[in-house]
């Protein structure tokens, strides 16, 4: 506990000496009909009041999507058929999570700081997850990480933050096409010798726009009208097709 307080004091005091200013190429990501993933370019600089202390500065950038409750199912064989037999409910898991570091992950941040700031993927997941009271709950959270990593939804990007002259840094993070919308939290951590010296967070607004947004909102807020509209479109299409073809047949 004492060590933790000490750490906070150290990082608080040094944050005054060195802090981070950032910019992004976009603060909004619009999901349109032709949305095929997006790339977010983050750049920034380390602001200093006095000359930099010894040791290289390191930068960690994380982007976390909105957290949502999920069910994780595990299949096993029942009467020769593979079916879901165990389920663990996770109250909240980020729908997207990317960590980019300027060096190897373990050399940019030490374990204690990782625990505090929940930076690594497993920590970021477990920190928001519900108490998993199934015996092998760890297997389920591992599975969430594995599945979402395969889909490009969880990414560990080591050595992808470029640092110039110990001051300027930049990185880009890819978001796949099937991300869900909401407020994404971008976080920049400045570390030296594995300890965090400054933290900065900002919001990226990821939203369906245009027709996509209209349809999605309508389907949730006014499902009856949405359903009726779907049927009306179908009826119209069916009628139009038969009309069109009768026209072609007679000419």
């Amino acid at each position: 506990m004492l060590r933790l307080i000490l750490l906070i004091l150290i990082s608080a005091s040094s944050a005054i000496a060195e802090s981070v200013v950032i910019g992004m190429d976009k603060e909004k990501v619009g999901i349109t009909a032709t949305f095929d993933g997006s790339q977010i370019l983050l750049f920034g600089a380390v602001k200093r009041d006095k000359p930099a202390p010894l040791g290289n500065i390191q930068v960690i950038v994380t982007i976390a999507g909105p957290s949502e409750p999920i069910s994780v199912h595990r299949k096993s064989k029942v009467f020769g058929i593979w079916m879901n037999t165990d389920t663990v409910e996770v109250d909240a898991a980020p729908s997207f999570y990317a960590v980019a570091t300027s060096s190897d992950f373990s050399s940019t941040i030490n374990d204690t700081e990782d625990l505090r700031y929940k930076v690594s993927i497993p920590r970021a997941i477990r920190s928001v997850g519900a108490p998993m009271n199934v015996l092998d709950a760890a297997l389920f959270s591992d599975a969430v990480i594995r599945i979402r990593s395969d889909q490009g939804l969880y990414q560990l990007l080591e050595n992808t933050v470029d640092i110039d002259e110990q001051t300027l840094f930049q990185t880009s993070i890819e978001m796949p096409a099937d991300i869900s919308d909401g407020d994404y939290t971008a976080r920049i951590l400045l570390t030296r010798g594995g300890n965090v010296i400054d933290e900065f967070t900002t919001i990226i607004d990821v939203r369906k726009v245009g027709l996509e947004r209209f349809l999605f909102n309508m389907s949730r807020e006014n499902p009856l009208a949405y359903g009726l509209m779907s049927i009306a479109i179908a009826i119209f299409a069916g009628w139009a097709a038969s009309l069109l073809f009768r026209f072609f047949r007679t000419t």
């Binding site: 999901i31 009909a33 032709t34 949305f35 095929d36 993933g37 949502e68 409750p69 999920i70 069910s71 994780v72 199912h73 595990r74 299949k75 096993s76 064989k77 020769g80 058929i81 593979w82 079916m83 879901n84 389920t87 409910e89 996770v90 297997l139 389920f140 599975a143 969430v144 594995r146 599945i147 979402r148 096409a177 099937d178 869900s180 369906k208 027709l211 996509e212 349809l215 999605f216 389907s219 949730r220 499902p223 009856l224 949405y226 359903g227 009726l228 509209m229 779907s230 049927i231 479109i233 179908a234 009826i235 299409a237 069916g238 009628w239 139009a240 097709a241 038969s242 069109l244 073809f245």
Partner: protein, 306 residues
């Protein structure tokens, strides 16, 4: 060209969807089947979540059956009275189907339910179709044999609540048609199919309806049942993806019109065998997914919906 589907929340090639719609449309126009029982599993294969595939396919079938039923109404080959009786059962069945669907969804078993239904029905329909068309080919090769007209005098005549159906020339109890409608309604809600492939044989062999009104009457019933199913899925699961439906529709309705042109000109036995083999292949593919140990035993589903 990739299209982001707003409800399914996946990005799929628009041409793949148009193509799928077109191919299934041609088949359905040629053989007078709705095509839902092929389209829904194909949507699973291209990565559409099963719940969205089922709901959206129901919506697409509204279009194809409406288009088909219009043609039959013009030719007066729809038994509206029988259609309405089937419809009563169908609407009830759709309601029951949605309750089963949503209950299993809350248990995380809905994918299994949908896939098991597909394995069972595709297996049965595929093999029946295969045998029937094989027999038809053998028959035509061995010279023509006069077709026997079946006039079943089964239990449909002995049950109470008899009604006269003028268009079909029948005087039977309304219980069997309601039960047929009920079964088809349940299947429609769970599988995202019109159910014509069950209803048409049932109308011929169980109800004893004349063949010429069977297809039109079943299409008439399917419009309303799938429409109702669409509405139920849209209001309880929010899984009807209108963008997906429109792309499938475009391909589907055009394909269906083309297919019905081919269908009137071609001798379809050989093609019917191909369709049967396709159905069996899809069935085997789904069955293998259930029987072979999956490479990923875990899966994630959205828990906020229940």
């Amino acid at each position: 060209m990739q299209i982001y589907l707003p409800i399914a929340e996946v990005s799929v090639s628009a041409f793949v969807l148009l193509g799928l719609g077109g191919i299934v449309g041609i088949l359905s126009g040629m053989f007078g089947v709705g095509g839902g029982f092929l389209m829904t599993p194909l949507l699973f294969f291209i990565g559409i979540p099963p719940a969205v595939a089922v709901a959206t396919e129901a919506n697409q079938i509204v279009a194809s059956s409406f288009s088909g039923a219009l043609a039959h109404l013009k030719r007066k080959t729809v038994d509206l009275k029988m259609g309405s009786i089937l419809l009563i059962g169908g609407l009830l069945g759709a309601g029951i189907g949605i309750i089963i669907f949503n209950y299993l969804k809350s248990l995380g078993q809905v994918d299994l339910l949908v896939k098991l239904c597909y394995v069972a029905f595709l297996g049965i329909i595929g093999s029946l179709m295969f045998i029937e068309s094989l027999r038809a080919i053998l028959k035509t090769q061995g010279g023509s044999i006069p077709k026997k007209v079946r006039r079943p005098r089964g239990f449909a005549q002995q049950l109470p609540f008899k009604i006269r159906f003028r268009t079909s020339g029948l005087y039977i109890s309304i219980i069997p048609p309601i039960l047929v409608g009920l079964l088809v309604g349940i299947l429609s809600a769970i599988m995202g199919v019109g159910g014509g492939f069950i209803m048409v044989p049932a109308m011929i062999y169980i109800l004893g309806m004349p063949t010429k009104v069977v297809v039109g009457t079943s299409l008439f019933q399917i419009i309303f049942v799938t429409g109702f199913t669409t509405l139920l899925h849209a209001t309880t699961n929010y899984t009807v993806d209108i963008a997906l439906a429109v792309l499938l529709l475009l391909g589907g309705v055009l394909g269906a019109q083309l297919g019905s042109q081919f269908g009137t000109r071609l001798r379809a036995e050989q093609l019917r065998i191909l369709l049967a083999l396709m159905v069996i292949a899809v069935c085997i593919k789904i069955a293998l997914d259930l029987l072979i140990m999956p490479s990923e035993l875990y899966s994630i589903s959205d828990a906020s919906m229940h």
